[in-house]
């Protein structure tokens, strides 16, 4: 008890010390702000430009002086986005695939992460090592055999390979690793109580360990969703019909008869795919960044 309050006090002290020992002189602060502002330009400008260019006439995109604010916003490009392709349909494809893969990955990696961390069974360490090797196999190495597998099962141009393979295959291994690290740190006493109440293994997992694992699950959910939303090579290889396409693939399809990009339409479509995700991120960025940082912290 006393040691606890002591450590709390020293934390307080530390915070005070920090501001004194490490506070910067005024000129240094100004220099740092200036540096960060300059560095921020390449991070902000493309997104800003994407929105403004999508609202400008096509000619402006190639002009030597890009306008930072469109003088007369044009919405016609946005109409065309939906006319040239089943864009709404592709949006739904991307969304439902990402949601299913995220939910499935959370389930698979929570189960196996829990077992590898907290259940003693013969060969557990060896099996964990085997599973971990999945992190070292780039998707491109296995794409030809997986393509053949999908083809021989008659699942080309369906969404099945885009859902099943990531949930059970190499992409979920990182999730298993993160979940295992989290469950390893969970105090054993918590489960002892549940055991006395007569809970079985699944009961312990479901009603005690899993609810506590919310931060780790959130991290797994975030990176799985982003990765699935980003996925490009696999849809490119497995899908052929436009109404089956996911967004990254759809974005590259706004081309003219000669295969040249129709930039203005492409930028409008890109804006439509980027802004919702960006908005969610900006609202939830604290949890978002903290969740991702946690996956690395415990690695």
């Amino acid at each position: 008890m006393s040691s606890k309050s002591e450590s709390g006090k020293s934390n307080q002290d530390r915070a005070n010390h920090r501001s004194r020992a490490l506070s910067l002189p005024r000129w240094a602060k100004i220099a740092l702000y200036a540096l960060m502002t300059v560095l921020a330009i390449p991070f902000l400008f493309p997104t800003w430009w994407m929105v403004t260019a999508s609202l400008s006439p096509a000619n402006d995109i190639y002009s030597q002086s890009p306008k930072l604010f469109p003088t007369h916003p044009l919405w016609s490009d946005y109409k065309q986005v939906f006319e040239l392709q089943p864009f709404a349909h592709q949006y739904v494809n991307s969304l439902y695939i990402a949601v299913l893969v995220t939910a499935g990955t959370m389930a698979v990696s929570a189960l196996s992460g829990y077992a590898f961390a907290r259940i003693r069974f013969p060969g557990a360490d060896a099996l964990f090592f085997v599973v971990l090797t999945g992190m070292l196999v780039p998707a491109e190495v296995t794409i030809v055999p997986l393509f053949r597998m999908v083809q021989s099962l008659g699942l080309i141009n369906t969404h099945w390979p885009l859902i099943i393979i990531p949930i059970f295959g190499a992409p979920s291994v990182l999730g298993t690793f993160v979940m295992r690290q989290f469950f390893l740190a969970l105090p054993a006493e918590l489960e002892e109580a549940g055991r006395l109440d007569g809970l079985g293994r699944f009961g312990l997992f479901r009603s005690i360990a899993l609810p506590l694992a919310r931060p780790a699950l959130a991290a797994v959910a975030i990176f799985t969703f982003l990765r699935t939303w980003d996925s490009y090579l696999e849809p490119l290889v497995y899908l052929s019909a436009k109404d089956k396409f996911t967004l990254p693939l759809a974005l590259t399809q706004y081309t003219d008869a000669y295969g040249g990009n129709i930039w203005n339409i492409q930028l409008a479509a890109t804006t439509l795919t980027v802004l919702p995700v960006l908005a969610v991120f900006i609202i939830a960025q604290r949890q978002f960044v903290a969740g991702l940082a946690q996956t690395g912290l415990k690695g």
Binding site: L44, V141, V144
Partner: protein, 321 residues
């Protein structure tokens, strides 16, 4: 499994052939609990293990197997070819350019990405108001999908695009970025770095915030400069994170595909035709699946070798707590 049941039954001398009733003896009870645990363990990991076998283990074996065959999709033939594909690989006139592009791309990306990530993390770790805003800005491209980012960058990198317009304002005539060999490679590296550097930045930031304040105070009392403090105290303490991020970034750099496809399609010439892109073109554009498999084996060997080297080198520079 059956052996352990039998021996458990034997030691109890009773329940021959069928399960001992619960609460029989202490040892017996423990055995069944342990066995039940083992069954639960296997059931819990079964989805992951079966998935690994079907989608990782088997494909890795298959890719080696395919690389030893000559495979004609149109004629439907699949014949043993021994090392013919590997001989073709050794004599592939494009291989030198592909490996060079892969090497330059990876080295450029890893150096730029890690250096920038560390710089940004150190800046954001200062006691300054408003760092949360800058953190959001530097991280924001991470949530933009790779293809979207590449498309936007592509329009900016046109000869008459926004980047050159900005450069001309300060009196620099920029190259036609995506159509000149050296410039194209640099453009793709920078595009990809800005897109993803936020991830490494966050990992570095988390590591920096784990460095105990007392060490900084001690250094300040000793009158050590900030530069010296960073390299003598901060950096050694975050080396485990540096190792983690460098492995992730090296492996990731070898897998870059979408930006290459969208921005340059491997050109001009073969200047951005990295191994992964070549693999895709051979397999899914030229439909030479056995040669693509051979390139897949090469990629796998490179990834394994680099990871092993990094893992070995960690003893030299990673400081363990």
């Amino acid at each position: 499994m059956s052996v352990s049941t039998a021996s458990a039954a034997d030691t109890q001398g009773g329940g021959r052939g069928h399960r001992p009733p619960p609460g029989r003896g202490r040892r017996d009870h423990r055995m069944t609990a342990r066995r039940r645990d083992a069954v639960a363990g296997y059931l819990f990991v079964a989805p992951q293990l079966l998935g690994w076998a079907a989608f990782v283990g088997w494909p890795v074996v298959a890719v080696v197997w395919y690389s030893l065959h000559s495979w004609n999709l149109l004629a439907g033939t699949f014949d043993w070819a021994g090392l013919a594909n590997y001989r073709q690989l050794a004599h592939d006139p494009a291989l030198g350019a592909v490996l060079r592009a892969t090497l330059f791309f990876s080295v450029g990306l890893v150096v730029l990405n890690l250096a920038l990530a560390l710089l940004l993390a150190v800046l954001l770790n200062q006691r300054l108001r408003g760092t949360a805003v800058f953190r959001t800005i530097f991280f924001s491209p991470v949530v933009v999908s790779l293809v979207a980012w590449a498309i936007v960058s592509g329009t900016l990198l046109q000869g008459t695009g926004g980047i050159n317009a900005l450069l001309s304002k300060v009196g620099i005539t920029g190259p036609n970025w995506l159509h000149e060999p050296g410039a194209a490679l640099i453009a793709v590296i920078v595009t990809q770095t800005i897109k993803n550097v936020g991830l490494n930045m966050v990992l570095f930031l988390a590591a920096l915030q784990g460095v105990p304040e007392e060490l900084y105070e001690a250094a300040a009392l000793d009158g050590a400069s900030r530069w010296r403090t960073f390299w003598r105290i901060t950096f050694p303490l975050i080396t485990p994170t540096v190792l983690l991020t460098s492995i992730i970034t090296v492996v990731g750099s070898l897998q870059v595909f979408a930006p290459i496809q969208v921005l340059t399609a491997g050109g001009p010439g073969n200047s951005t035709n990295v191994l992964v892109y070549d693999l895709y073109k051979q397999g899914f554009v030229a439909h030479d699946l056995s040669y693509a498999s051979t390139l897949g084996v090469l990629l796998f060997v490179i990834v394994l070798a680099l990871t092993a080297i990094q893992w070995q080198m960690r003893k030299k520079w990673v400081v363990n707590e």
